[in-house]
Amino acid sequence: MTTTHAHTEAEAEEAFDATDPALTRFDLVREGARRDGVEIVHYAPRFPVPGTRAERRIERVLAFLFLLTGLMGTAFVVAYIAWPWKYGDGDSTYRSLYPYYTPLLGATLGLTLLTLGLGIVVWSKKLLPEEVSVQERHDGMSDSTEQLLTAATIVNMGDELGLKRRKFVGLAFLAGAAPLGAAAGAVLVGSLLKAPTQNGENIFSATGWDPKNNGGKPVRLTHEDGTPIRPADISVGGQITVFPGIPDGATNKHGDSPTLLIHLREQDATETLKNAKELNKDSQWQNYVAYSKICTHAGCPASLYEQQTNRLLCPCHQSQFQITDNARPIFGPASRALPQLPITVDDEGYFVAVSDYKIPVGPAFWERP
């Protein structure tokens, strides 16, 4: 059923009487749409003859989908309440059913929503009348008169305030408003602002290995649990992560302090000693070296140690460092060597740090020395 109205708008509006009993409801719909700039050019029922087999089939499908929605929704509620859900609880049956709790929720809720969604889509595609409507866009610029009227209204506001005549008042207002804006910014920035220094020292340059964290005494190298380390604790070619032996030394309070202590093989140790830069002279203790574990690229722990080649790999961005050559970067995005921690063994036979790192550990920053 395709019809077109040839009336002009004014004609139609004048002639239209919404209370006319001769008009069908759809005539009213069409007129309403027309007044909204929408022309319904094609509108036809999907099933012009009611109750055909095809129509009944669609209705059955819909009824099935919606009943399934109800069924699955109920199943979800039952499963949510009754199925074993708490990890590690109950007897063996409970424990064997527990792993299916979340999958069951997903399957039942998914099917509930899927059947509902499919039902609604099928309804709209198969039962709603076929329709093609055309709406005019009416876009582009506003009428030029309209533009002028609005512009005049806006410019007039300036006149009303007398901004041109009363320049001094305007300036005074700005002078008053600017500090108010600054006040809003100051509260936000000022409350958050924190200098990167502590006691005049850049906090990115100091780590937990600084002896002043230990009452001026050299800081011991310890395991995560705080026990100190003897040279014999690491086998040849082995490596362990060590932390400063100070309170909270192994926690995230000293996130820049984790260090890798490596027991090099004899020939590697000799080579390392030979390669040592001026800065790293005297940092090695016998065949043991300690390097910062914090990657100089993005600060991830460079923790994958390849014993055969004495290379250290950072798993975040694959920077590789040559341990036997001052932990110099040999591949990947890191541009600086890992700082070396100068170590020795104290009177009781435990590893200690001679001093803090001589250069800042971790990622680079603007003012780093």
């Binding site: 708490k86 899927l114 969604g117 055309v134 866009r137 990115f204 993005a298 990622p363 603007w366």
Partner: protein, 548 residues
């Protein structure tokens, strides 16, 4: 007093009347009900983003009831035995609590995470659709910019979200974020200490991220989405060329009931997919990673997929650190290598798309209003540029997981990095060239069919022994694209038909020779036009049959 009987049948009409007396709603309400929406499968990509955002809000509210972002150290005492007695932040503790000790908590957590991934994926694919079809052109530049901002807001929201549980993976991501902030010239250290309240990780970052994640960024997202939808309603949807469709109208169905029902049903289907993913596919099993410790990381530390392209750029960028002295102040200054791929690159990737609509309009000297979409082939330059951008993005995305690829396919890690470094320079130009040629080729084929007709598959032997294939000229219909039902005669003047900016039928069944035309990607979107009785009449074929 006599109680008046309420006329139930008149109740709706009376209440409507009472409402209209107060709000004068009849005209504006009908206007909304009658708003016309065009239909095409590609228009629902943005809808997926909208619906996943709604799921994100709902599941997020649930999680907020049980989550505490505090970095206060506690000892775990929940039901997950392997972690009992382990010291951890209360954020990680409550995230575990949600996963194991809240009924349906794990399901909701996974739903939140999956819908976040879907949200970002839908935004990206929707953006491709808008770019390649030219939907961003005047008058829709502002809405395109809002879309770009929505992507970055979603990016920040997602990063904040997966940083909050404070597992080992979260902490690694935050560690890298702090290194990125540190790398900013001049203010880097100040920005980092101000945000983290000291050196990384400090004790406040999760509290700050939390308010960002649950209030500020969602608020911004909600505001931007409102503007996005508001502009869509105001400017009306773009449409593909087709019968009766012009630059000044919209052809489709009215919003109610047709469009709204389909959209509502589609929402339920998207919701269903998220629910099924959340229940059946594990995501971010934080209990396996353990609490964040500065010294711990595992191999294959990947961010969520939408952050991976930046991880890829970080991996690929060479170790080019710049060090220089400045008037002899301090000890010299550094611009770390990580600054370029993580601060400068995202800056470029934000600014280029924002300005692209204006750049294109300027270069093509195109100031017209465009409400009709363009097929990607019809603007080879833009399509090729888009293909180049996509190729650039994909190389970075793959490089973001190059360690996993190296591991699974037994390739050298260094080879993967070098492949990425070379690939990022070589592949985008290749993609540009290939897309440009493909677009031109498709254009040419369209023109060929319009001039010579559709290949029929009927081979004819000529008197001199040559074989030729018979081409069926397209019917000269009112709209010239083969869908008109009032095609009159096959009078073919040899100059071909005009290209209408829309699909040219290239197979006989598309013009009604075989089964009915089924048009659409997944399901028929238009009813096939009945074959025009005289349109496919072909004298040549008669000759063959009359030869017996």
């Amino acid at each position: 007093m006599k109680r008046r009987k309420i006329d139930v049948r008149a109740l709706p009409a009376n209440s409507a009347k009472a409402l209209d007396e107060r709000f004068q709603a009849a005209t504006p309400l009908r206007r909304i009900l009658n708003k016309v929406f065009p239909d095409h499968w590609s228009f629902l990509l943005g809808e997926i983003a909208l619906y996943s955002f709604i799921v994100l809000l709902l599941s997020g509210v649930f999680l907020a009831l049980f989550f505490d972002p505090s970095m206060r150290e506690v000892v775990y005492d929940g039901s997950y035995t392997p972690l009992r007695g382990v010291e951890m932040s209360n954020a990680y503790n409550t995230a575990l609590h949600i996963s194991f000790d809240v009924r349906g908590g794990l399901f909701m957590r996974q739903m939140h995470h999956w819908s976040a991934l879907l949200f970002m994926a839908a935004i990206v694919v929707h953006m491709f659709r808008v770019f390649f079809t030219g939907a961003f052109r005047k008058p829709r530049e502002a809405n395109w910019i809002v879309g770009v901002l929505l992507f970055w807001m979603g990016f920040i929201e997602g990063f904040g979200g997966y940083s909050l549980p404070d597992d080992a993976l979260s902490g690694t991501g935050l560690r890298i974020a702090s290194a990125i902030m540190l790398s900013i010239p001049i203010v880097g250290t100040w920005v980092t200490t101000s945000l983290f309240g000291g050196e990384f990780p400090g004790e406040v970052i999760l509290d700050r991220l939390y308010i960002l994640h649950v209030l500020l960024v969602p608020g911004a997202l909600l505001a931007l989405i409102t503007v996005h939808m508001g502009l869509l309603v105001k400017q009306k949807h773009t449409q593909w060329p087709g019968p009766g469709r012009t630059n000044t109208n919209v052809v489709g169905v009215r919003m109610f009931p047709g469009f709204a029902a389909k959209a509502g049903g589609f929402f339920m289907i998207v919701f269903a997919m998220i629910a099924a993913l959340a229940g059946l596919f594990q995501i971010n099993p934080i209990w396996q990673f353990g609490p964040y410790k500065a010294a711990v990381v595992s191999a294959a530390s990947q961010p969520d997929w939408y952050v991976m392209f930046l991880d890829g750029s970080t991996r690929l960028f060479p170790a080019w650190e710049i060090r220089f002295g400045l008037f002899g102040w301090g000890d010299g200054y550094t611009i770390p290598a990580i600054f370029w791929p993580t601060v400068v690159l995202p800056g470029i990737l934000t600014m280029l798309p924002i300005f692209y609509p204006f750049i294109e309009a300027r270069f093509s000297k195109d100031k017209a209003v465009h409400n009709m979409l363009q097929r990607p082939r019809d603007n080879p330059f833009r399509t090729a540029l888009g293909a180049m951008a996509v190729a650039f993005y994909v190389v970075l995305l793959i490089s973001g997981g190059n360690d996993v690829l190296a591991d699974k396919f037994n390739i050298s890690l260094n080879a993967m990095t070098w492949a990425g470094r070379i690939g990022i320079l070589v592949i985008p130009p290749l993609a540009y060239y290939a897309a440009y040629r493909i677009a031109l080729g498709l254009q040419q084929h369209d023109r060929e069919v319009l001039v010579h007709g559709v290949e029929t598959g009927i081979i004819r032997r000529m008197p001199d022994g040559r074989f030729v294939e018979i081409h069926q000229p397209l019917p000269v219909a009112g709209n010239g694209n083969g869908h008109g039902s009032n095609g009159h005669g096959g009078e073919h003047d040899g100059h071909g038909l005009d290209y209408a900016g829309w699909v040219v039928p290239k197979k006989m069944n598309r013009i009604g020779a075989l089964a009915p035309v089924v048009k659409g990607f997944f399901y028929p979107i238009e009813k096939a036009a009945p074959p025009a009785p005289r349109a496919i009449e072909e004298p040549d074929r008669e000759e063959i049959t009359s030869g017996r």
